[in-house]
């Protein structure tokens, strides 16, 4: 390593690098300059150091002590901030336990809807929508992957749909459908409950995302797997359901769970249509009480669902990675 660097002074210097006439831009080392070629190292000896230039990481007992100290310091800082006099309005406005309780159970006499009851609707909506999305998206993905000539226009339609649904904000579609469709005065269509419009919009938007996830999964299954299955006499349908789809879903399960978490959160957008779900109820409570602790309790409810879901997703991802690593050594 040191060789080229040491030899450099003897080599004819390129014009720019003349000592004394160094230009401002020429200070960075050229391709020949070698980091280890400091003047202190004797010729021919490789200046290799195994000592880290960084402070060594604390290990064992020292590490435990260090992590405990830093954690305590962090928690202390947060408690000090929240408990300080200056944070009084924040505590009262956002973290008021009494107000949280009022928002959570509701108070019909003053028109306050229950955030708790509303959240049940959020959960129902996300579960029903997810079930429909999982089926519908698979159809869309299969349509995009088919090479059947008759289905060509449908394939084009599927592409146009996924582009549109993924490219437009969910809230925009929500407003469009939620307020637009009733104004059309279509028999049977325009007179539905806002929950139905909301569900339709969520399914519409998320089917596009999930279809793309499925498509990636289906493409990740090697063609040889399909040929092996067909060679055993399995029909194309059985091959899809028993061989391709299980592998495809396994490969994209984390992505599917991610999208489900997202869908769960986006049920909050339904509040724009005035549906009495958690966020809308919290809004009402906030307006009546002039206190926004209702939003806090709504957030907590969402987190109670989404955090376990994301942890579960992480676990599955790790398990998959470990299995793949085990597979390579076999």
């Amino acid at each position: 390593m040191a060789q080229p660097g040491v030899a450099q002074p003897g080599v004819a210097q390129p014009g720019v690098a003349q000592p004394g006439v160094t230009q401002p831009g020429a200070s960075q080392p050229g391709p020949l300059a070698v980091a280890g070629a400091d003047p202190g190292s004797p010729d021919g000896e490789l200046p290799i150091s195994l000592f880290s230039s960084h402070r060594p990481r604390l290990r064992g007992r020292a590490g435990t002590v260090a992590s405990t100290l830093s954690t305590v310091a962090m928690i202390g800082l947060i408690v000090a901030l929240v408990a300080s006099n200056a944070a009084g309005p924040f505590r009262n406005g956002f973290l008021n336990l009494h107000q949280m309780w009022i928002a959570f159970v509701g108070d019909p006499s003053r028109g306050i809807l229950s955030v708790g009851k509303g959240f049940v609707l959020n959960i129902w909506l996300s579960l029903v929508c997810e079930a429909i999305v999982l089926v519908l998206a698979l159809g869309i993905a299969s349509l995009r992957l088919t090479r059947e000539p008759v289905l060509l226009p449908f394939r084009a339609l599927a592409i146009a749909y996924t582009d549109f649904a993924r490219g437009v904000p969910v809230i925009l579609v929500m407003l469009w459908v939620g307020f637009g469709v009733p104004s059309l005065n279509l028999r049977g269509v325009s007179s539905q409950s806002p929950v139905v419009y909301a569900g339709f919009v969520l399914v519409f938007s998320y089917s596009a995302y999930v279809a793309e996830v499925y498509r990636a999964g289906l493409l990740s299954v090697p063609r040889a797997q399909i040929q092996a299955a067909r060679s055993l006499g399995l029909s194309s349908r059985t091959t899809l359901y028993r061989v391709v789809l299980p592998q495809a879903v396994r490969n994209v399960l984390p992505a599917l769970l991610n999208d489900f978490t997202s869908l769960q959160k986006d049920t909050a957008i339904v509040s724009t249509l005035g549906v009495a779900e958690a966020v809308h109820s919290a809004q009402i409570a906030g307006g009546v009480e002039f206190n926004y602790s209702g939003f806090t309790i709504a957030s907590i409810l969402f987190l109670l669902i989404t955090i376990p879901l994301t942890r579960y997703t992480d676990r599955i991802m790790n398990r998959d990675r470990n299995r793949r690593l085990a597979g390579t050594t076999a």
Binding site: S231, G233, L234, Y241, V243
Partner: protein, 301 residues
């Protein structure tokens, strides 16, 4: 989830059990009763193989196949009778694999004819799923289903295609796995097995369908040298039991040992074919001599 049980008039049809005999393969020609070897869906009763029939299992004539501008098969003729073991040799790209894949309709031929069990594969009444049900295929890269345990890999097709009950299919699979010494691996996932074990499971997976013809596509080419023997031993045992096999292989010693007929392919045609003693001992065609000389020089013969 809907499962394809659309087996039509074949639902009630069971391949004869090989239980009782200790054969891996259904070798009994009597087992080939007329109802099991029919390939065309629909009518056509009574045109199957009669007991002891020596009429060809496979008859290829003037087979042509191209991939784009590349003509891979340029008129291949080949006839196989029951219990024949035919080895295809030749350098990579000579068309061995393509010929195998045409025989179970993974590829469609463009010229000539392939007849399987007396049926022209070009006949539009031929159901490709029925062709493949009676024709086992083992691949170079095993292609076991990674999401299924070994046992389920073996029972999938018997259950879904032949309509066997889970218990019957598992009994059959366990029997086969035990015979190849992998009975204790039934509950493992394929990635826990060595590559040699995986390939043997892949062969058993084909055998569980009790095929009338087994196509082996360079089944040892993806194996470490020390694992080749266990797979070749299994194939050799099948040959001794009378399984009809068409084998593409680079293992010349193995071909010499098990084949009834060796076919040397070059440039998409069978240049020379005959019994192994003649092909390896006294080949007449210069191309065959050159090929075998190269193999010999590489120390592989």
């Amino acid at each position: 989830m809907t499962v394809d049980r659309n087996l039509g008039d074949d639902t009630g049809r069971r391949l004869p059990e090989s239980g009782g005999t200790d054969a891996l393969a259904a070798v009994d020609p009597d087992a080939a009763d007329a109802s099991t070897d029919r390939l065309t869906a629909g009518e056509g009763d009574g045109d199957g193989l009669a007991a002891g029939d020596r009429s060809p299992v496979l008859r290829a004539a003037g087979v042509h196949k191209s991939f784009g501008a590349l003509e891979v098969l340029k008129g291949v003729d080949l006839t196989m009778r029951p219990h024949d073991v035919v080895c295809l040799i030749g350098s990579s790209g000579s068309g061995k694999s393509t010929l195998l894949r045409c025989c179970n309709l993974l590829e469609r031929i463009e010229g000539g004819t392939i007849e399987l069990f007396g049926h022209d594969l070009a006949d539009e009444r031929v159901d490709e799923d029925l062709v493949r049900r009676h024709t086992g295929m083992v691949f170079q890269s095993f292609n076991l289903f990674p999401h299924l345990r070994v046992l389920d890999n073996v029972t999938l097709a018997p259950r879904r295609v032949l309509g066997l009950q889970r218990k019957d299919a598992e009994d059959r699979a366990r029997g086969l796995l035990q015979r190849i010494g992998l009975g204790d691996k039934a509950q493992e996932y394929p990635d826990r097995l060595s590559r040699g074990q995986q390939q043997r499971v892949a062969i058993v997976r084909s055998l569980a369908m009790q095929p009338r013809l087994l196509l082996l596509d360079e089944v040892t080419s993806a194996l470490d040298p020390e694992l080749v023997a266990e797979v070749l031993d299994l194939v050799g045992e099948l040959a001794r039991q009378g399984m009809t096999m068409l084998i593409a292989t680079h293992e010349m010693g193995f071909a010499r040992e098990v084949a009834d007929t060796v076919c040397f392919l070059e440039g998409g045609v069978i240049v020379e074919s005959g019994p192994p003693e003649r092909i390896f001992g006294d080949p007449t065609e210069p191309a065959t001599r050159r090929f075998l000389q190269r193999i010999f020089d590489a120390g592989r013969l």
